[in-house]
């Protein structure tokens, strides 16, 4: 049933890299990362329910180098996906859809998510 003559849209290898496509890809990538993070939320709560020793073992992992890297990545993913998700919701109302709006909000989201990650990191560790 494959028909080779059907039209194809231009794809990643053809487009020149630009902010809007980078943020779109990053939104999906951070979303997938956060989805895997769900397993760690479940692990954390089951560990708390199970008892102090299991809870300690969870925090041993979360304070290892790998755990801290994962936590930082998770926090950035959460911040970015949250802010860029807001950008999507604004788009859904028909606003910011111009080239200027998409770029201005794009830069704002990128800078905002770095700041939000740092703010949450220090706030949580206080």
């Amino acid at each position: 049933m494959q028909n080779k003559a059907r039209p194809l849209s231009p794809h990643l290898q053809i487009y020149r890299w630009q902010l809007t496509m980078f943020l779109s890809i990053l939104h999906r990538a951070t979303g997938v990362g956060l989805a895997f993070g769900a397993a760690f939320i479940t692990w954390w709560l089951l560990a708390a329910q199970h008892g102090p020793k299991t809870f300690d073992r969870f925090h041993e992992f979360s304070h290892s180098i790998i755990g801290q890297l994962m936590l930082a990545g998770w926090l950035f993913s959460l911040s970015f996906h949250f802010l860029n998700g807001m950008r999507h919701l604004v788009w859904d109302t028909g606003r910011w859809l111009s080239l200027k709006g998409a770029y201005a909000s794009g830069y704002a989201v990128l800078i905002g998510s770095v700041l939000m990650t740092a703010a949450i990191w220090f706030y949580a560790g206080q």
């Binding site: 049933m1 028909n3 003559a5 059907r6 039209p7 999906r28 979303g31 997938v32 956060l34 989805a35 769900a38 397993a39 939320i41 479940t42 709560l45 089951l46 708390a48 329910q49 008892g51 102090p52 809870f55 300690d56 925090h59 949250f82 998700g85 919701l89 859904d92 949450i120 706030y123 949580a124 560790g125 206080q126």
Partner: protein, 131 residues
Amino acid sequence: MTTHKDTSIRTPLGRARGLGSAKDGTHHWWVQRVSAIAMLPSMIYLMVNLPTLVTHDHDAFLIWLQQPLPALALGLFIASAFYHASLGIQVVIEDYIHSEGQKIALLLVNKLAFIFLGVAAIYAVVRINFG
């Protein structure tokens, strides 16, 4: 298929079936947004309480979670966020897996995994509250 000039965006199979769209194309899009908005209040509440949330002190954590608001916020966050995540992963699978068998298998794994993770997490919150 040779009677048609094959430059249409419709697939030959779609044309042969002649059924048009399934008429529920916006449902997935819509619940993706509803679940995103639904998780906001509980997420903001949990963010504000983050210093307590990350404590290593087992007793302190249980005492905090045994209050109605923290338990409710966590339960609502898990329900809405895990649902949102399964919707998102579903689209990723549908976009990149082209073999029909593999796709159906992965969609099933996705749904079951998030149901399992969500039920297990909420079970933990309930057990902590009602022992």
